[in-house]
């Protein structure tokens, strides 16, 4: 799994790539928490390059979501491939996370500044 991070206004967009499972869920969690710490308004996790996420990876996202809520920061998810969307639906995480079709939509939902910065980039 690799991470690609970019900043739009006060928001951080993080794009992991590959599989998220027991072997790297801890690193995924640390990357999400680090992104949250550096973001002033919100984190968007774009899963467009993720082809599989296991329960351990979803758990990492739950921990990040809780951390975002307690810090009053936004947390949104975007770009789910059809298979990852199926995993979210079967596990009912579609009811837990704010899910958007594209990173742009997710940034727009979490912060107007982030959208302006994204469109200007």
């Amino acid at each position: 799994m690799t991470f690609n991070e970019s900043r739009f206004g006060g928001a951080v967009l993080i794009r992991p790539a590959g599989r998220i499972d027991l072997s790297n869920a801890e690193a995924f969690k640390e990357a999400l928490l680090a992104a949250l710490a550096s973001a002033t308004t919100a984190v968007v996790v774009d899963l467009g390059a993720i082809d599989y996420i296991s329960s351990a990876g979803l758990r990492s996202m739950v921990i990040a979501l809780r951390s975002a809520k307690s810090a009053s920061k936004g947390f949104a998810v975007s770009g789910l491939t059809p298979m990852v969307l199926e995993i979210f639906t079967i596990s009912r995480f579609n009811l837990v996370f704010s899910i958007h079709a594209s990173a742009r939509d997710a940034l727009a939902a979490v912060s107007p500044d982030a959208l302006i910065a994204f469109d200007a980039s």
Binding site: A25, S54, S55, R59, E86, I87, I90, S91, R92, F93
Partner: protein, 319 residues
Amino acid sequence: MKITFWGTRGSLPAPLSGRSVRRKLVNALVKGANRGLDTPEKAEAFCDEAMSFAEWSTFGGNTSCVQVDTGGTDYLICDLGSGAREFSLSALGKHGPAAPQTYHVLVSHVHWDHIMGFPFFVPAFIPGNHIRIYSCHPKFEEAIRGQSHAPCFPVEFSALPASIEFITLETGVPYEIAGATVTGMAQLHGGESFGYRIEHDGKTAVYTTDAEYKPDDYGLMDRTAAFFRGADLVIFDAMYSLAESISVKEDWGHSSNIMGVELCQMAGARQLCLFHHEPVNDDQRIQDILAETLRFEEITRSGDKLEICAAYDGLVLEL
């Protein structure tokens, strides 16, 4: 090894309501309209061919009781939920009250839904029967004796004419019980709970209910996969969705269908049986959860296919 499910609900019995029966009836009448279903045989064939399980049947509403038949003369069951009454009536129906039997019972823990059937366990009321109750739980004898006691029940435990023994088991130690080898494992659950691995003649069933498995507790995941290793059947607490069990209902002591699939895949188990159904879920809902679980297994499969079923009262599985 033959497994018979006598009670499959979690938490409390969930009888099918009159409204649900009517909904099934209306659905069947509409579906079968103008099909010339004028004999029981034609109607039976229509149920088999054109209706789903949730439409023509029900998953049932009794709480945990699962019979493990290893081919011997003694009986072996897991838990004494309300399904234990049905089990005991069936056993008595087979032998009649005059032929004493030996019943071995493995108790996962003492939450009420797992012991509530004992006061109605008919063999306990018949002299000559032997009932041997085993558990790794430290308070199982106290709890089972305690519920057959005034003011909660009119027949005192001490007045039961059958011979009843309580045998405490240690986790991780194999015991010979009713011709099978039984090993217990501690599980995460409020007030303690224990799973049992039951082996006989090259076949293995694991009974693991009222157990929470945390995906980021790597030690627990590994220990559990080792406990399930190569099992022919894993009877698994799938009461919640994964999202519930690792977020809003974290530490409520139950697991999900997804965790069942992942653990069985890690362990190389052959079949997963979704068990301890949430009592608010109706038949259609449980059937939908089963379909989703089958799909999840399909999209995550890397080795052999994992068979998956949803337990219902009356289900029989041959291993």
